[in-house]
């Protein structure tokens, strides 16, 4: 890492820290005004944003980026409008900052409680989607934090244009523009410097593919909120309703393929095999899903195109129209399979049995554990967070969908009238 990168990042970090100090005390109405203004500025500057994006798209073409990446990079009127709408939705959410919980009298006479406060400076490292610039900045702003944004170098022009809208809105709302700073350079050394900026940055949130997240987690001296894999399971218990099982399995797998809360492996209790297996396999094949199964699955779905699953399948996040199916002897085997191969993201049991459902909720150690619902519900909007900055499969601080609350922490407050020990 060059001295230059460290110097640049220190200047940025110092400004962010100062801005965070002011944002911590910003009034709810000022923050909401900034978000609404940012939405208005983004709509007003749509032409400039699209022109900047066109430059990124040209470079992407020239550099031969693949179609999926170009689709993520591409902006159009609808996508820019969706960004503005996202900011307005964040403005409409309740402000988590300053909320006091559990203020209680103690025997000493003091009142003790918790007050919710911002984390401080949040570094967001992301890839090609330019809309993350607006989403992440909006969530950090509302939660009273300062954001340092480091988007993909292929999106630099788009990100610059979007960040400028947010910064203008901050100034026009009487807040510090440095509450949103873009790392305005494609120098990769700056990412390294950001990850070492413990004295300025309170938490790093990487958003993107597995290799980005692994690199950030390995290199960072700053605490990281991250999710690596989404190897999600649906377990059809012996006492499952066959229609419900079919419905949930189909939704969990086929509603969207490339998302982290899609099912990758279906576990079926041996007593549910005859009622469920062939029906579900047929429905998956009809949808164009490739099915890979254990021996018992293939026997149960004899005559249907089920490939042999290997141990590698159980450990794979397909993110595509591929499903692995395994028949288990009993509840314990299902839970053990999840413990061995799951990624701690989201698992669901389908069962009418009170005992099996209760045990599943307790024994499965994932960020989201469900009973008779599709894994696709593991999402900040569906959970009522209003918005999400990502999903955490870590154990400390926050698990599962991360919304405004996940970007805050709690301090203790004590109210007395002169108490001493």
């Amino acid at each position: 890492m060059g001295t230059d990168a460290v110097t640049v990042m220190s200047a940025l970090g110092r400004r962010a820290k100062d801005a965070a100090k002011a944002m911590r005390m910003a009034e709810t109405c000022a923050k909401n005004k900034a978000l609404q203004l940012a939405a208005a500025v983004i709509r007003r500057e749509m032409k400039e944003i699209l022109a900047a994006n066109a430059m990124d798209m040209q470079a992407a073409e020239k550099n031969g980026l693949d179609a999926a990446l170009k689709d993520r990079l591409m902006l159009n009127g609808d996508r820019v409008d969706a960004m503005a709408e996202g900011l307005e939705q964040i403005a409409a959410l309740p402000d988590p900052v300053g909320a006091i919980d559990n203020l209680r009298y103690r025997p000493s006479g003091i009142q003790v409680g918790h007050m919710r406060v911002p984390l401080g400076v949040i570094g967001i490292i992301y890839e090609s989607r330019p809309n993350v610039t607006a989403d992440a900045a909006g969530l950090c702003l509302k939660s009273g934090n300062a954001a340092i944004l480091r988007g993909g170098s292929e999106a630099i022009h788009s990100n610059r244009a979007i960040a400028a809208c947010l910064r203008r809105a901050l100034v026009d709302s009487g807040l510090s523009q440095d509450a949103v700073q873009l790392v305005d350079s494609t120098d990769r050394a700056l990412v390294g410097a950001l990850l070492q900026s413990e004295q300025y940055v309170d938490v790093i949130i990487p958003r993107g593919g597995k290799s980005l997240i692994e690199r950030v987690a390995a290199e960072s001296r700053v605490p990281v909120i991250k999710h690596l894999d989404g190897i999600c399971h649906v377990y059809i218990d012996a006492a499952a309703d066959a229609d419900m099982a079919l419905n949930i399995a189909m939704n969990a797998k086929t509603h969207r393929y490339g998302v982290c809360n899609a099912m990758e492996t279906l576990l079926i209790h041996q007593d549910a095999v005859s009622a469920c297996t062939a029906v579900i396999v047929q429905a998956m094949l009809d949808k164009g899903v490739e099915v890979r199964g254990c021996e018992r699955t293939r026997t149960a779905a004899a005559g249907l195109d089920v490939k042999a699953a290997t141990d590698e399948d159980w450990a794979t996040e397909y993110l595509s129209p591929v499903l692995s199916i395994r028949v288990v002897d009993n509840f314990e085997q299902a839970v053990n399979h999840i413990a061995e191969f799951g990624s701690g993201h989201t698992e669901s049991i389908v069962t009418g049995s009170y005992e099996a459902g209760q045990r599943f909720l307790r024994e499965v150690d994932s960020a989201s554990v469900m009973w008779n619902a599709s894994t696709r519900f593991a999402d900040g909007f569906e959970y009522g967070l209003g918005a999400e900055i990502g999903i955490s499969t870590d154990r400390l601080h926050v698990r599962g969908p991360v919304g405004l609350e996940g970007l805050t922490t709690q301090k203790w407050i004590v109210l007395g009238n002169g108490q001493v020990r």
Copy 2:
């Protein structure tokens, strides 16, 4: 770090991880029984524990350890009894594991809520106090975690004897003895290996002096819950009651000197100087406290022995009968002084002003912020946690006194009746 250390730690880590899996599901009554039994075994084995401690004390004598260290190392009947009592108190606390909060219906028809669950494997690295072995193990056990304990090498015989009592109690309660494991070696390389054991250990809690904590924070790949300094402030506002101010200042400084929640710097609003300064300085001197003040403090306490404070004083955690005093022009200067020199541990304002008190609660960014109460209340027992494993000045996961809840995390649970997206 030698291969041997890594091998030893991996074996230990694997056993801890297996034990954590079982502890996660352990019933409250089994955990409480283990804690009560452990207390009984410790009382029954008091002779053996004291004999082991005598070996440590002999070695300490031979190695010329200083008096303070020997006092921390030393056990006697009362101290062993206090350990047993501590375990009984932990048994009496409510079990945080499995508690469900905020279970609410969403528009989709699913119910979404939070379930509290253990963190998993907790590594505790501590110094000479052997009672930490029982305290830390007890808190980890009650919160459903597995503990890996690494005490100071000077306390190895004592720790071995105490850990054996806990392990016996675990077995006799039908739980895994590996839920409490002592790193039974004085090899320092094992600490390094423990800090690199990301795949087995979920969090490290260092307890001890600043150099230990700094080393752990710098080297650890595992998330760390820590507190570095306790440079706590009391700020006497313009609208303070002079008697209350004297009372709180005296308690915060002189109740105990060597604790992290003792006041190190007293800030006095210039309008409170005449009513408070000389009185407090006199009272401090009467108690044998050395006073170091800014120029205005020395003028206000003319004729009393106030040494000149330097900038270094504001940044020093004395942990001894020394106090620095600074007169400030206004509220902002007090808050800025705290932001510049404070350690984010605990600060208290003394004021009858609603505005000043409210602003102080909001603007001071410390783990504990108090209004008209002594900083000495920043303590797990005083806050109602029942027990504490330490104090966190970090921002993520947990701030301030860390009790059973701080050793747990929350997962999302979703209850449906067949909902899909």
